[in-house]
Amino acid sequence: MKEIFMLIVCLSFFLFPVNTAPAFCNQLNFNQKNITISAIENDYIHSLIKDIVRTAYKRLGIKVNFFELPARRSLEWANIGRTDADLARIDNTETKYSNLIKIPVPLLTIKGVVFTKNITRDVHKWEDLSGLSIGIRSGIRYSVIRIEGFNRIIAKDLFHLFSLLSRDRIDVAVADYDMGRYKIAKHFHDSGIHIIGKPLSSRHLYHYIHKKNKNISKKLELVLRDMSKSGEMDIFREKAAMEAMP
């Protein structure tokens, strides 16, 4: 009996994918029609996730507007409720930004790797960066946290970061592996910037909603989890990566 019920649900899900969300929303008495999600401007990672999140909300019957902001502002505004959610952040963000509710479905995994132009040091951990001038991107919390006490320079964005590195203003730059590669490929492919060592960190990115939208958190989690399980997320990410690549 149980299997039959599950089968019906799954079939229903697949057979009536478009119509389920509104019906679901109606069932949950969810009256939100539009939602604004802050996202990091010109951010490659976020661009990979946008379609995933948009689709998930769409399935809940909610139209999503992305509001691109600097990385921290995106988070701050989501926290203070000025936007309804932040597109994607690492784990434990809610401990500092207590107004945010994590949707515990990983949307993407970022790997913090070290880019350099001239440094040949074999880097396996953060301490290996000691003595170097380290560039990080503003608003990228994990890198900011880990290199506290180091000789660091915070760039306003990734282009800025790699510009500093390409002009030897910094020794190394810590950035996301995918995003770094994307940026180098796009703007600095002849600069000699390359990755050294192993990733210093590997962190999942989660969608965070403001607590005022708590009522949709569970539904959103269900939808996202379903998208993750179904491999739909990977499809969206690859599609986005392909579009972003120069």
Partner: protein
């Protein structure tokens, strides 16, 4: 010297105060300008921040770029006076730089607005705290410097002005002040001038005008002092009888002239209380509404007479003239009074009334004396004739003698009346009074009882006075008879004394009317019953008597008083009831002894006879008859006429037969003098005796014209008549013989 000057002090204080205020104002204005300038400068930061920093800071805040924000804030903090910067984001973050050190500051808020995709977001506020401490410090320093500089300048200017003011004004004011302080009113004035160099002055200035005005004022003052001196002299001259006083509308005296205290005899303290009692509380005072006569706004002077007592018990009369002084509303403010001592005038008025009374009596007496004397002349004449014829009939002789005595008393009475009323002739010559006194004593001793002792005390070296001996006789007789009457019952002592008295300036105050000089003091003193005090003031009044009708007529002392006054003397009486009375008479001593003119008292009684032919004219038939008989009894041939025209006709017909004309003065149809003139036309050198019942003072002109040789007052005693006729006829006889011998020679 500069600072002791009140003007200098006021000037320097005024200059400093004014300069201080001006300095404060200018400094305040200066500070205000500086402050505005500083505020503008600070305000420029606002524009600088807005235009230069605000966008980048907004972007940094937008991106939460802490480092960049820190750098920007630190960079901004390098601006002057920027003390503290703080950025507060809307989401509760804050970035700050600097610290709030200043106590006074200006806070500027800059909203951080980020624009993206045509959308603006207010993401926070930049608050810039601009310190004003330094600005205020700078302003304070600037103010202090300005104040100090201006103060120094002000003090220097004030000092300079003070020196100039002192040089040009203050020292001269001191000179003027010292000079004015040293002015002594009454001393000679000197022209005042200032010690100042004219080289600074092109023309006269205010100080010159002051000096000129002072000198002009001096001249005026000098004139006023002269006027005041004259006025004072005038007041001093008047002060014996005029007093001035003032009192307010409540009756409080504000001024009483000092002479009033002297005259009334009260002390300075007493006089005010005294005057309040007598000058204000009396019914005539101008304070009494009934006495306020108004003439519109002006109140008229109000005069009245009042008798007020002196401190010594006597009283005086004052004529008060009070003038009300009114204010502009017509209300009485004070009263100015002028008091005139009219005591003497009052006495004179009494005397004048008395004189008028005497004059009336005199006129009356004079009117009847002529006829009365004619009657007495008849009585006396016939009595004497009868007595001559009845020497051998003693009883009849005695009775006729009584008639004669009564007629003589009547004659004396008429004489007293005429004397008192000044109807008798007074012929003053230098005479010795001492013989008259002795004669009177001798005469009176016989008539007074033996219980009365008579004493004479002659202490004088000079007893010669210009007097009529008959009247001196009369005077002494009257006084002695009165003394005798006062002592006739109890007896006593009658003392007659003569002294030489020198009256000084002080003495004559007790004898008004007398002059300084030598006097003969004649005192008649008795120890009789005295005169009651209430009678003392009236004893010299005519017909005032306390005696019986038989004893006195009331004319004795009045005649005495009249004789004394006539001889320019004074009489005083002192009497105490039971102790006696003293009459004290002062007569001026003759200035020289007229040896030849001095007349002795009466000559011994001799009746000379003659045989000449006498024309006797008297309108009174009886008198003419008796005189004819008397003259015929003396041996003369007498032609008596009662009508002057008949007498003249008879004389013209036989002028050479008559040796003497005796005619009455007052006759109907032709007065005696006219008859004499007519007769003299016929016979120029006929001697003439004029008889009259009234006093007739021989006219010098008459004498010069040779009209009258002698005047006889009727009734004429046989002795006087015979002596007078004989004297004249003998004189003419001698003169005729001399003329004849001269003519024959």
């Amino acid at each position: 010297m500069i600072m002791t000057s009140s003007i200098a002090k006021k000037l320097i204080i005024s200059i400093l105060a004014f300069s201080f205020v001006i300095t404060l104002f200018i400094t305040g204005f200066h500070i205000f300008i500086d402050y505005n300038s500083e505020i503008k400068r600070v305000s420029a930061y606002e524009m600088l921040i807005k235009n230069t920093y605000l966008d980048s800071i907004t972007t940094s805040v937008w991106m939460y770029d802490d480092i960049q924000i820190k750098l920007q804030l630190d960079g901004l903090l390098n601006l002057p006076d920027l003390d503290y910067l703080i950025i507060k984001s809307k989401d509760g973050y804050a970035w700050s730089s600097g610290e709030m050190k200043s106590k006074r500051h200006l806070i500027k808020d800059f909203p951080l607005i980020y624009t993206q995709n045509n959308m603006s977001f207010e993401i926070g506020t930049l608050k810039a705290v601009i310190s004003l401490d330094e600005i205020y410090d700078r302003l304070l320093n600037s103010a202090l410097v300005t104040l100090a500089a201006n103060s120094v300048k002000t003090f220097l200017m004030a000092g300079f002005i003070l020196l100039i003011f002192n040089f040009f004004i203050t020292r001269h004011l001191h000179s003027i002040l010292n000079w004015l302080k040293n002015i002594e009113i009454g001393k000679s004035f000197e022209k005042f001038s200032l010690n100042r160099s004219k080289r600074y002055l092109k023309s006269d200035d205010e100080l010159d005008e002051i000096v000129a005005t002072i000198n002009e004022m001096q001249d005026k003052l000098k004139n006023y002092l002269e006027i005041e001196k004259r006025f004072k002299r005038l007041i001093d001259d008047l002060q014996e009888t005029f007093f001035f006083y003032k009192y307010d509308n409540a009756g409080n005296f504000t001024y009483i002239s000092s002479s009033m205290t002297a005259v009334l005899g009260y002390s300075e303290a007493e006089i005010y209380r005294f005057c309040t009692g007598y000058l204000i509380k009396n019914k005539y005072s101008v304070l009494n509404d009934n006495n306020r006569e108004t003439d519109g706004q002006n109140k008229k002077k109000h005069s009245y007479e009042i008798e007020i007592p002196r401190s010594k018990g006597t009283s005086c009369y004052l004529l008060i003239t009070e003038t009300p002084v009114l204010d502009k509303d017509g209300e009485l403010i004070e009263v100015e009074g002028l008091a005139h001592d009219i005591t003497d005038r009052k006495k004179i008025e009494v005397q004048l009334r008395q004189a008028h009374k005497m004059e009336a009596i005199g006129t009356l007496a004079g009117g009847i004396a002529h006829d009365f004397n004619n009657i007495l002349g008849i009585i006396i004449g016939y009595s004497q004739l009868c007595m001559d014829n009845t020497i051998d009939q003693p009883e009849t002789y005695v009775e006729l003698n009584e008639i004669l005595k009564a007629a003589n008393r009547a004659r004396d009475l008429v004489k007293q009346i005429l004397t008192f009323s000044r109807q008798t002739e007074t012929e003053k010559n230098p005479i010795n009074i001492n013989p008259i006194v002795k004669e009177i004593i001798k005469f009176i001793r016989a008539s007074l009882p033996s219980t009365i002792e008579i004493k004479s005390e002659i202490h004088c070296n000079n007893d010669i006075v210009m007097a009529d001996p008959v009247k001196m006789h009369q005077l002494l007789m009257n006084l002695c008879v009165n003394a005798g009457h006062a002592m006739k019952d109890s007896g006593g002592i009658l003392t007659i004394s003569l002294d030489n008295i020198e009256l000084s300036e002080i003495d004559i105050t007790n004898y008004p009317g007398l002059k300084i000089g030598s006097y003969l003091g004649l005192t008649v003193q008795d120890t009789g019953h005295g005169i009651p005090k209430e009678y003392l003031e009236r004893i010299f009044e005519p017909y005032f008597t306390t005696k019986n009708k038989e004893e006195g007529t009331g004319l004795g002392l009045a005649v005495v008083h009249a004789i004394v006054e006539e001889h320019a003397g004074k009489i005083r009486v002192y009497s105490e009831p039971g102790a006696g009375t003293t009459f004290y008479i002062l007569l001026p001593l003759a200035e020289a002894v007229y040896g030849e003119n001095r007349k002795d008292s009466l000559s011994p009684c001799v009746i000379p006879r003659g045989n000449e032919c006498i024309l006797l004219v008297d309108d009174e038939q009886s008198l003419a008859a008796i005189m004819r008989k008397i003259l015929e009894s003396l041996g003369y041939i007498v032609v008596a006429e009662t009508n002057p025209f008949d007498a003249l006709e008879r004389f013209i017909m036989n002028s050479e037969s008559f040796d003497l004309l005796i005619t009455d003065k007052t006759m109907p149809g032709m007065p005696g003098l006219e008859l004499i003139k007519q007769i003299k036309k016929k016979k120029k050198n006929i001697p003439v005796i004029l008889t009259t019942g009234l006093s007739y003072l021989k006219n010098k002109d008459d004498s010069a014209k040779g009209l009258i040789d002698e005047v006889l007052i009727k009734p004429v005693s046989t002795e006087i008549l015979s002596q007078t006729i004989r004297k004249i006829l003998d004189y003419y006889k001698i003169r005729k013989e001399e003329q004849e011998s001269t003519g024959s020679g």
